[in-house]
């Protein structure tokens, strides 16, 4: 048993590190350190830098322009990206719809959509959840009725992340009401600029409209935008959910945040003439987080080792989602503890791009509560942690 990288893998790690340190714009890095969101243009620009290097799509097969990396190389790449705070590719195109198109799309659909995803020319968003179909996704109602060469689409989607930037949306729609709910669902690609599509921002607790409700009113969608067969959408969607659950442990980001916590603790007065790193109560909590991170990293490495010998990511990947998100939320609490009164003022605009006012509090302190609020989503989205526990309960423990 060993967890060492081979000489080739170490050389690859060096190459990735060198590339990121010279090519990830320092301006973006500073923003990541200051908890400021990158703009759409910046995210696209970074993705295009990766594209020019040939590294835009680590999870794609080589024939479509992927890197052809091993599972270990993918892991190394994701780790190095996370450690310096480089954003991962916006997942909706690259990691969600693309694998579905590759697996079930026609040749024409592959040619039409995949190159633009790879080059980040087109921004995709996700149309899964509906107001009454969250954890119970299969009960979705948005309807698509065939009319000649088109579908007529009516209904709404919610919790749509960053749809305000999107050109296209992939949707699960109901095409048959007469069968078992999973059997009447189809997978449809819809141009966001179509007549009848409208979008209502949903402001979250941190004051940012990160998600939207999207309404479809008599939207005409060419039938050639249907992926695979009608009423087989649920099968395709399940493939997508498996991909969504890889690289979700957030270990690299966790390491980066732990480093930040230690730095901030050393810089934060305890009110009694020492600093917060001198507080044994706080130091113990940092230690607990670090230990949890170490265990999680090895859960991930063991999953990875299974993947490298050709096993599919199994239901065990739910562990990564549960522990990874709950640990990230624990770290959010620690940032809030350090910030103390400095995170009381509600100043979302201070963490928007181009803020010109007087900054409040040292460093990122004033954003700590905002991040704490926003990250409550981690245990809710992408299959809530309750659903993940159901998966382990059924598929692993056989209960």
């Amino acid at each position: 048993m060993n967890a060492d990288f081979t000489a080739e893998e170490l050389a690859f790690e060096g190459e990735v590190r060198e590339f990121l340190s010279s090519e990830f714009p320092s301006e973006y890095r500073n923003k990541a350190d200051a908890n400021i969101r990158l703009s759409k243009d910046e995210l696209v620009n970074w993705q295009k830098i990766l594209y020019r290097k040939g590294w835009a799509a680590p999870n794609w097969p080589q024939e479509y322009g992927g890197t052809g990396w091993s599972a270990t190389q993918n892991y190394i790449f994701a780790t190095e990206m996370g450690l310096i705070g480089a954003p991962e590719p916006v997942p909706f195109g690259m990691k969600m719809v693309a694998p579905v198109i590759m697996a079930y799309g026609s040749d024409e659909q592959k040619q039409r959509f995949l190159p633009d995803i790879l080059e980040s020319n087109v921004w995709w968003c996700q149309g899964y959840s509906e107001p009454n179909a969250g954890s119970d996704l299969a009960s979705l109602k948005m309807s698509a009725v065939r009319d000649g060469d088109d579908y007529i689409v009516n209904g709404s989607k919610t919790w749509n992340t960053l749809g305000q930037y999107a050109d296209w949306i992939f949707c699960l729609v109901r095409t048959d009401n007469s069968v078992k709910k999973q059997e009447g669902i189809s997978f449809l690609l819809i141009d966001m600029h179509s007549a009848g599509v409208s979008l209502k921002p949903i402001y979250l607790l941190d004051g940012y409209p990160e998600v939207n409700e999207i309404f479809f009113d008599e939207v005409r969608v060419p039938a050639k935008n249907l992926i695979g067969e009608e009423n087989k959408g649920w099968t395709y969607a399940k493939l997508l959910l498996t991909h969504e659950r890889t690289n979700i442990s957030g270990v690299p980001r966790g390491k980066r945040r732990l480093r930040a916590l230690k730095q901030i603790a050393s810089d934060t007065d305890d009110g009694f003439g020492s600093n917060m790193m001198g507080s044994s109560m706080f130091k113990n909590k940092l230690a607990e987080a670090e230990i949890e991170l170490q265990a999680l990293e090895y859960v991930e490495l063991r999953t990875l080792a299974a993947l490298s010998v050709g096993k599919a990511p199994g239901p065990e990947s739910s562990i990564l989602k549960i522990v990874g998100t709950e640990l990230a939320q624990k770290m959010d609490e620690l940032f809030v503890e350090l910030a103390a009164y400095n995170c009381l003022p509600f100043l979302p605009e201070q963490f928007e791009d181009g803020f010109q006012g007087n900054s409040v509090g040292p460093g990122t302190a004033a954003s700590s509560a905002l991040v704490y609020f926003n990250n409550r989503k981690l245990s809710i989205f992408g299959g809530s942690n309750e659903i993940q526990r159901n998966i382990i309960s059924k598929a692993v423990l056989g209960l």
Binding site: L204, V336, Y341, L344, V360, A369, F373, K377
Partner: protein, 377 residues
């Protein structure tokens, strides 16, 4: 043994309940928060008419008696409604300091104004490096004959932007964390050298960062003896701590109630999510936390009203705040999780309750601060 409220207390409670039910729904609160002052002056005048602004003052000062039990039963209702009016800064902190430290003349001048709703106060004690320790004071007060010059920066000054007068905690002598040498001065909010940066806090209440640059007052603006304010300051902050504990208890019970109700109507997989045992047990745990919180805060209030032992009083307060911190974390996080995505939105009250209790959890000291204080006292 009797844990029931007296007739007077029941009347006070009903009066507050009636007000928040009739005049303080979620939409009204949002409108008040968006208004220029960030609280309703009309409500404030009503509070004065209803006698609520007299509750924290002793009978000798012309008040209702200053019982901690009275205070927590009001704060409990305020917490459920997420009231943003500056009750704690003006009456508990500001009024409390004047009452504890002020001369007969100062009390006679200011306390009636507070009770009549004519004076808004703010207590400027916390500093960028003081964290939760009221005895850490870097702001200086240099006395020269009759005049005093104040320099320093204060943060988290609740009601700072609406106060007529600021009660400024400043150091006349000693090193930053010495207990001796700390005084409180009453400074006009519009005095030259005072700059006030106003914010709305995450819980919707108005707050400010205030800087004092060569602000001149006379020694007559001092409350109490020179350099001897720390004991009274701690007692008053402890009283305010009990108030926020009660406020949080009310908010937590509101979150529990809303979560249970939601779980009965939100259907997934063809059944209300409240029928899932995995969620039922978690809501039971939320209920247990609420009961623990309510019990320890009642304990604290009763001891404050009955004990003469200052150490014991400080310990019951820290015990309550430490335990509340745990309850806040558990109940508020579960409430959002069980609501799911909808709980994350600005549109629903449960998310605002979550933000309120997050602020209350750190106000006047978080779990670690109060656990350590409890251990050391």
């Amino acid at each position: 043994m009797d844990f029931s409220y007296t007739q007077e207390q029941k009347m006070l409670q009903e009066s507050v309940q009636k007000f928040v039910q009739k005049s303080y729904d979620f939409d009204t609160r949002n409108k008040i928060m968006a208004s220029e002052r960030g609280y309703s002056e009309e409500n404030w005048q009503l509070f004065a008419e209803l006698g609520w602004l007299t509750v924290t003052f002793s009978e000798a000062d012309g008040g209702l008696g200053g019982s901690a039990v009275d205070l927590i039963l009001m704060m409990d209702e305020f917490g459920k409604a997420m009231l943003v009016e500056p009750f704690i800064p003006t009456t508990v902190l500001g009024g409390g300091l004047i009452s504890a430290l002020g001369s007969a003349q100062q009390k006679a001048e200011f306390i009636p104004q507070i009770m009549e709703g004519r004076l808004q106060l703010a207590c400027a004690y916390a500093e960028p490096s003081s964290r939760y320790n009221p005895g850490s004071v870097a702001t200086t007060a240099k006395v020269d004959g009759d005049s005093v010059t104040i320099d320093g920066i204060k943060i988290a000054v609740l009601n700072g932007s609406n106060a007529n007068k600021l009660l400024v905690v400043a150091r006349e002598s000693g090193a930053r964390t010495d207990r001796e040498g700390i005084s409180v001065f009453m400074v006009d909010a519009d005095a030259p050298g005072v700059s006030i940066q106003a914010f709305t806090n995450i819980d919707g209440k108005m707050s400010a960062q205030v800087s004092f640059e060569a602000v001149e007052v006379t020694v007559a603006a001092r409350l109490g003896v020179a350099g001897g304010a720390i004991g009274a300051l701690e007692t008053v902050i402890d009283r305010a701590t009990v108030a926020v504990c009660a406020e949080a208890t009310g908010a937590l019970e509101a979150m529990l109630q809303k979560t249970v109700e939601y779980s009965k109507v939100r259907k997934q997989f063809g059944t209300p999510i409240g029928t899932f045992q995995a969620l039922q047990h978690r809501m039971v745990d939320m209920f247990i936390e609420c009961q623990m919180a309510r019990s320890i805060i009642i304990r604290a209030a009763m001891k404050l009203d009955s004990s003469d032992d200052e150490i014991e009083k400080a310990r019951v307060v820290s015990a309550a705040k430490s335990r509340l911190g745990k309850a806040i974390r558990k109940v508020s996080q579960e409430a959002i999780q069980i609501h799911g995505g909808i709980g994350m939105t600005d549109e629903l009250d449960v998310g605002h309750l979550f933000k309120c209790v997050t602020a209350l959890a750190m106000m006047f000291g978080n779990i670690d601060y109060h656990t350590a204080r409890f251990a050391e006292l």
